[in-house]
């Protein structure tokens, strides 16, 4: 069995993501059968739970919001071959920053307060990447290791704050911080739902990143550095500063995701504002093939699967862990289908 490069893109390549997702669902139905349920019933419950009502849709979009932020963070970084695995930590940094200045330190009207929170969160997320990016560009230290390990440092630091100085005296002993003041809370878009303007901000950022990458000199330089750093250096593109810029953008996006969760959804900082959004963001970015605009549907899809799986586990007797399996298999299926659009298999 061998692989051979295709000379031209086959016609089915446009449909390949859909075919990949269908085959992922097909594969997972084996697991559902094994668990003793009918896959049709289970998937029907999942779809209903994800998009079956206006409430379900708003829930899915709410869950998609942080994933757009972290998905963009990963897409931007990976484009320049800067492997930022630390979006989780950067998200918490943004959340901490929002809590620090948003719980009474400054008090501005909402129109100023909200942008201030987001900018501060972006700065915090970016700062979190300062050490890894400088170590990479100056000493060639592998950023995968540094960014990944810093996640744990940040999480333990948040834990320390929430158990100690930042613990809300009104929280009846729960490790959570004081709530964000009213001026900083993100308004909801749809009445009687949890969907807040963080979603709109995330979508705007995706468009902005797309525009930057496509139409500006920075985008050109980031793409050149990502594809071929040697040629980029030959052209005179400052490779290290491009990587630095990318790192700041990536960290900033993840940090804003943290602001959006604290100020939009929860209202206060806890240790569980992110059930691994930083890591799922990587899956989102891969699913979107690192294209900023495609991050939006990719994030919505994954969020729907998670939300739908919760509903499914309530309706039929299947643990909601199936969502994780489904997401992983979808990702694998997409990667395989990407490979198959570029290569053909020769069985011999």
């Amino acid at each position: 069995m061998r692989l051979e490069l295709r000379e031209n893109v086959p016609a089915f390549s446009r449909l390949s993501p859909i075919l990949a997702l269908l085959s992922a669902f097909l594969l997972c139905s084996l697991l559902i059968i094994w668990a003793g349920e009918s896959p049709l019933n289970a998937y029907w419950a999942l779809i209903k739970g994800a998009v079956g009502s206006s409430f379900a849709i708003t829930e899915s979009l709410t869950r998609a919001t942080p994933l757009i932020f972290t998905g963009l963070a990963a897409a931007v970084a990976f484009r320049a071959k800067f492997w930022n695995i630390g979006a989780e930590g950067q998200l918490y940094c943004g959340a901490m920053m929002a809590t620090w200045i948003g719980t009474g330190m400054i008090n501005l009207p909402p129109l100023l307060m909200i942008p201030t929170l987001f900018i501060a969160g972006a700065v915090a997320g970016g700062l979190m990447l300062l050490l890894p990016v400088l170590l990479k560009t100056h000493l060639k230290v592998d950023e995968v290791v540094t960014t990944l390990l810093l996640n744990f440092v940040v999480l333990l630091f948040v834990s320390l704050l929430l158990e100690g100085p930042w613990k809300d005296p009104m929280s009846m002993g729960w490790p959570q911080a004081e709530p964000i003041i009213d001026a900083g809370v993100l308004p909801t878009i749809v009445a009687k739902s949890r969907l807040h303007i963080g979603f709109i901000i995330a979508v705007c950022l995706a468009v902005a990143i797309w525009l930057i990458l496509k139409y500006t000199v920075w985008g050109y330089e980031i793409r050149a550095v990502g594809h071929n750093p040697k040629a980029a250096a030959f052209f005179g593109i400052p490779v290290n500063s491009s990587v630095f810029l990318v790192a700041m953008m990536s960290g900033g996006l993840a940090g804003m995701g943290g602001v959006s969760e604290v100020a939009g959804l929860k209202g206060y900082l806890t240790l569980d504002i992110s059930p691994g959004f930083g890591y799922t963001g990587i899956a989102v970015a891969m699913l979107a093939q690192l294209r900023p605009l495609a991050v939006i549907p990719a994030a919505i899809f994954l969020a729907s699967v998670y939300v739908g799986a919760d509903a499914m586990s309530r309706a039929v007797n299947i643990p909601n862990y199936i969502a994780d399996v489904l997401v992983s298999v979808s990702l694998l299926a997409i990667l395989v289908s990407n490979m198959l659009t570029r290569y053909r298999i020769i069985w011999r």
């Binding site: 051979e4 295709r6 000379e7 139409y215 500006t216 000199v217 920075w218 050109y220 330089e221 793409r223 050149a224 594809h227 071929n228 040697k230 040629a231 980029a232 250096a233 030959f234 052209f235 005179g236 593109i237 011999r348």
Partner: protein, 517 residues
């Protein structure tokens, strides 16, 4: 025009390929090719890049499986797609790029892979004896205990040949074996090949260098576009007839017309560079080039040419000494500043350094001026860039689907045209061209040389780094030779010949060098 020569029907036919056809999708890399090789014969396979030489040899060696056709070795059919079977049948291959482990000795490199894995001790003595026998028999002198890292390129090639012979090769395939050798080393190789043939070995010699083929082979087969277009005995062939067969039309290469030189455009004064992992050291380099002049730099790869180019490209600064352009000292390694000063830069590795393959043709055409061409320095002026790209594609005959085509889909020759277009549209006054014709086919070579000569005509000063002495003698006004980080010359072309340059390339200082300067 396939002619069945008497050799094919001879009884001592060692190797026979019949009607080999290999397709890659719609591309026919080998179209119904048949050849035969007698014992004690050197068969040259001549063809341009992409003619299908390497594909054919990979089929023979079992790396590829052909769609049609069969192979016979010593009258027995060879199972397709099994390199092990080819080795066993005595087919040995010496690749263009050596496959040796630098940190092992010659002996270890040669025995590597021939011994069983589950064996407590090595039978060193037998291996040593065998190696000594082989070196004696074929005149391949080598010290078995030297580390490969300490060998010269010519010696490394000898190890590669010994490696094949040690495995019992009776048919030896040499893929562009002289690409990395000095003319003298090539001569040595040829005499070794003669001895091997006299001992009954058969050799397939793949090359696109005509004078070598005439010097070493008994018979020549010419491939063009995947087809066998001719087969001649070397004694009946001439350089011109072979060239015409290979290219399919008469070959004319441009010639440099004598021109009076003008002002000095570039000078390196007492330039020193310490060795880094990527760049070889430079010692006390003095070099200048004037308007209307091409200065050629000859040398075997790895003697400091890349370091020299890196300085003139604006990628690095000398540790001491001065790099002057248009009578101004360059104080910063900044490629963009040099491009602003109208320096043309043709990089050594055009695919890896010259373009970003995943980006479009128009994006690569503005690569050196993205900041200056952008609106307000931020937004890339896409419509203007596409328009310009359209013109350049036409003007430089870049074969592609248009400005939006992905650059990695272009052939090597067209990528080089793209790089030329990017540079020459900036009207450079000084050009540093590093290996501009390496690996190109005849058409593209003439094109590149014409463009360089046009630039010389219109007043540019050019540094041309090349390993191809024919090219250097053809277009240069003066030639200098790099050896071990030092530069000899430049001397006017009239005072040099290939022999002298070859001696300088191998580090042997000319007896009359003093008179030359």
């Amino acid at each position: 025009m396939m002619t069945d020569t008497p050799i094919s029907s001879q009884t001592n036919c060692r190797l026979k390929l019949s009607n080999i056809t290999k397709r890659f999708g719609s591309l026919v890399a080998n179209d119904n090719i048949s050849l035969s090789l007698a014992a004690g014969e050197v068969l040259a396979i001549l063809g341009e890049n992409g003619a299908g030489k390497t594909t054919l040899m990979n089929i023979l060696f079992g790396h590829y499986v052909s769609e049609e056709g069969s192979i016979e070795v010593n009258g027995e059919p060879l199972p397709p797609g099994q390199p092990q079977a080819s080795l066993k049948q005595g087919i040995g291959m010496v690749h263009q790029h050596f496959t040796l482990a630098d940190n092992l000795s010659v002996l270890d490199n040669i025995t590597l892979g021939t011994e069983p894995l589950f064996q407590l001790y090595r039978n060193d003595k037998a291996a040593r004896r065998r190696l000594a026998e082989l070196s004696e028999r074929f005149g391949l002198v080598i010290k078995p205990d030297t580390l490969v890292a300490n060998l010269s390129v010519g010696e490394k090639q000898r190890v590669e040949i010994l490696k094949a012979l040690y495995r019992g090769a009776s048919v030896l395939i040499l893929d562009e074996p002289t690409a990395v050798l000095t003319p003298q080393e090539a001569q040595q190789l040829f005499s070794i090949l003669k001895q091997m043939v006299a001992e009954g070995l058969s050799i397939i010699f793949i090359s696109h260098k005509l004078h070598e083929i005439l010097a070493v082979s008994d018979r020549v087969m010419v491939l063009r576009g995947g087809k066998m277009v001719g087969e001649v005995f070397t004694k009946d062939a001439s350089k011109a007839s072979l060239a015409e067969l290979m290219v399919g039309r008469k070959v004319t290469r441009p010639k440099a017309l004598p021109l009076a030189t003008g002002k000095r455009v570039m000078a390196l004064q007492n330039v020193q560079l310490k060795a880094t992992p990527n760049l070889a050291a430079l010692e006390n380099i003095n070099l200048d080039v004037h308007q209307n002049e091409i200065v050629g730099i000859a040398g075997v790869a790895g003697n400091g040419q890349s370091s020299l180019a890196a300085i003139m490209n604006g990628q690095t600064l000398p540790d001491s000494g001065e790099f002057r352009l248009f009578d101004k000292a360059i104080k910063q390694a900044d490629p963009r500043a040099l491009v602003g000063l109208k320096v043309g830069r043709i990089p050594e590795d055009r695919g890896a350094e010259g373009v970003v393959g995943e980006m479009t043709v128009w994006e690569n055409l503005i690569a050196e001026k993205v900041r200056t061409q952008a609106k307000r320095g931020i937004f890339i002026n896409q419509s203007e860039a596409r328009q310009e790209a359209k013109q350049l594609i036409e003007q430089y005959d870049i074969r592609c689907e248009g400005p939006n085509a992905e650059t990695r889909l272009l052939s090597g020759g067209n990528i080089q045209k793209l790089i030329l277009a990017r540079n020459f549209s900036n009207n450079p006054h000084f050009i540093i061209a590093n290996q501009p014709i390496r690996g190109l086919d005849e058409g593209a070579i003439s094109f590149v040389q014409e463009k360089l000569l046009e630039a010389r005509q219109s007043g540019a000063g050019i540094i041309l780094i090349s390993e191809d002495l024919d090219e250097l003698f053809q277009v240069s006004d003066r030639i200098a030779v790099m050896f071990d980080g030092q530069l000899r010359g430049p001397y006017p072309v009239a005072q040099l010949d290939v022999q002298k340059v070859g001696l300088m390339m191998s580090g042997e200082i000319l007896a009359d060098e003093v008179q030359l300067t």
